[in-house]
């Protein structure tokens, strides 16, 4: 992958992160302030992206929506990683029957189509950000755990691990010193490349009205507002979709470049 792509990725990511962090400074308008007189205004100097059906400033809502998207992405990814690593190490290094059982559960979890799983969960527990995080963890953990498990299994019979066993080292020490440092690198890279996927899940669930609850600004929710009024006020849909596209592209380009730099062996995988 060419370096310029990485640079483009960094710029996009910085824009999105900067916009989210400094949302209050950049956009003076309150993202949730309802102004019935200003409904459906097209983009102008006052409202860079126009306003929605409740007269809220879309530019401000988009920037604040970035906060939701990024924090959900980071938190859910970190949670998936923690759970995935622990379960993967247990499955890979533990007894055979436990491994078989865990793999079966992972496979069963993966056999739910993502959105179907999300729909089922939300039906049962109600729409919320927690539901989004739970869905992301349930979707990611089987994959992460499998990667760690496969590599742990391969390392289990590696000579340097057998050497540590023969020296009398316990399972904890072997996993910590000899296994984890050798398996975590590729997973971190893959997880960083999953950030755009997580952002898409959050936006998608919010689009269906199953994620954040109104009036909290979210890109998916804005997109849904735009979709409802797509024939008359297309700019709302554009305002909701554009940040999703730019963010996922930015993180993907950055992740690809990072992977090529740190771990060329993984090239083209995933």
């Amino acid at each position: 992958m060419a370096e310029p792509l990485g640079a483009l990725g960094i710029i996009l990511v910085l824009l999105v992160v900067g916009g989210a962090v400094f949302a209050d400074l950049i956009a003076s308008a309150d993202p949730n302030k309802i102004a019935p007189r200003d409904r459906f205004l097209s983009p102008s100097i006052d409202h860079l992206m126009g306003t929605d059906q409740l007269g809220r400033d879309l530019f401000s809502r988009v920037l604040h929506g970035g906060r939701i998207a990024l924090s959900v992405a980071l938190f859910a990814t970190a949670a998936s990683l923690a759970v995935g690593i622990v379960l993967g190490l247990i499955a890979g290094y533990g007894p055979r029957w436990l491994d078989n059982l865990m793999i079966l559960v992972f496979d069963a979890l993966k056999s739910f189509p993502t959105v179907m799983l999300a729909l089922a969960l939300v039906t049962l527990f109600g729409p919320s950000l927690t539901a989004v995080v739970v869905v992301v963890v349930l979707v990611n953990v089987p994959g992460y755990a499998r990667i760690i498990r496969t590599q742990t299994l391969a390392l289990k019979s590696a000579e340097f691990v057998t050497a540590a066993q023969s020296m009398g080292a316990g399972a904890g020490r072997i996993l910590r010193v000899h296994v984890l440092p050798n398996v975590i690198g590729p997973l971190l890279i893959l997880a960083s490349m999953d950030i755009p996927v997580v952002i898409a899940i959050e936006a998608g669930m919010s689009f269906l009205g199953l994620g954040v609850r109104p009036p909290t600004p979210s890109w998916g929710a804005i997109l849904n507002d735009g979709f409802t009024a797509i024939r008359d006020t297309p700019w709302i849909a554009v305002a909701g979709g554009l940040p999703i596209i730019l963010t996922t592209l930015g993180f993907t380009f950055l992740g690809e470049t990072l992977r090529d730099v740190f771990d060329p062996r993984l090239k083209g995988r995933g």
Binding site: P113, A203, F227, T248, G268
Partner: protein, 314 residues
């Protein structure tokens, strides 16, 4: 091969069973009384109790699960709340629309993705390779529902080239196909990228293999090496990936059906959630899960049939 087929089949049954257990646990974990939730706030205590007995909620957990499990394997997913029709029947009515959409997305993404990936691998390092690489990554990154909405906005609303909503007139194949174009673009676009990348990566891996070097050392023509010696091996992981891909397309199909107001399982579930029609939701989730497992099973069997190493392993 028989052993392989049977063990794969057994595994698939096991996975579906565990998936049922997970789904059942989720239902069982619902805070509150499912009967009360199903009947709404205006129901009397007697009505709730009657429904509890009817739903078997008065029995121990394991009996409830066993009943659910046995009934589900027999195709009985309960009745939906609104019209009291069998859930399985309602879901199966909608399934063909979803399958048509997935097939549409799969066909064009395979037809484009495999040649692109092959081409990029053979022309490794060239401008074409890089271009395919960047475009693949880009189309993978953009979520399918955004593609769906933008496609709707551009081709249906602005340009008015293609119809925006519905699945077309029943019986009119041409109209149905026209209505399929935009949704299958939305569903398949990312998969062009996935497939191209996968084919490229596994082609490159195979082309490095010792036996390819041997084939070159025997002076075989490049085309034969690429297509007969390398692609036959490189295609195997791609077939597995396609099995997984159909599961992801089931997800994308939900969005595409909602955005383009198409009938289908996705639209069905979405509407069921809005009307709190829970048996329909869980039933549809189970059906799509079984479908997904079945497709993966088929992909595994195809790989097995194509790979002599698997074929002869008992």
């Amino acid at each position: 091969m028989l052993h392989y087929t049977l063990s794969r089949l057994g595994l698939a049954v096991l996975i579906v069973s565990v998936a049922m257990l997970i789904l059942f646990s989720m239902i069982y974990l619902i805070p509150g009384d499912p009967a009360a939730v199903a009947l709404g706030p205006r129901a009397t205590a007697a009505m709730r109790e009657a429904l509890r007995v009817k739903m078997g909620l008065d029995q121990p957990v394991w009996v409830q699960f066993w009943n659910f499990f046995i009934n589900a394997w027999q195709g009985d997913l309960g009745n939906e709340v609104l019209s009291d029709r069998p859930v399985s029947k309602v879901v199966l009515e909608q399934l063909p629309y979803t399958l048509a959409l997935i097939a549409g997305g799969m066909v064009w993404s395979v037809a484009l993705g495999i040649p692109l990936g092959c081409w990029a691998a053979v022309k490794r390092g060239s401008l074409a390779d890089r271009l395919v690489g960047v475009l693949s990554v880009a189309v993978i990154a953009v979520p399918s529902f955004v593609v769906a909405i933008y496609a709707l906005l551009i081709f249906a609303v602005s340009l008015r080239w293609l119809p925006a909503i519905g699945a077309g007139e029943p019986g009119d194949l041409g109209d149905q196909l026209v209505h399929l174009i935009l949704p299958s673009i939305a569903v398949g676009l990312g998969w062009v990228g996935y497939i191209a990348r996968m084919v490229r990566a596994s082609m490159l891996e195979v082309l490095e293999a010792q036996h390819i070097r041997t084939a070159r050392a025997f002076g075989l023509p490049d085309n034969q090496i690429t297509y007969q010696y390398a692609l036959t091996i490189a295609i195997l992981p791609t077939i597995t990936l396609l099995g997984v891909g159909i599961g992801q397309m089931l997800s994308s199909a939900v969005f595409a059906e909602i955005v383009f107001a198409r009938p289908g399982v996705g639209k069905l579930v979405y509407d069921a959630i809005l009307t709190r029609n829970y048996p329909l939701v869980t039933g549809a989730v189970l059906v799509t899960t079984v479908l997904f497992v079945l497709i993966n099973l088929i992909a595994d069997l195809i790989v097995g049939a194509l790979d002599p190493r698997v074929r002869s392993s008992l």
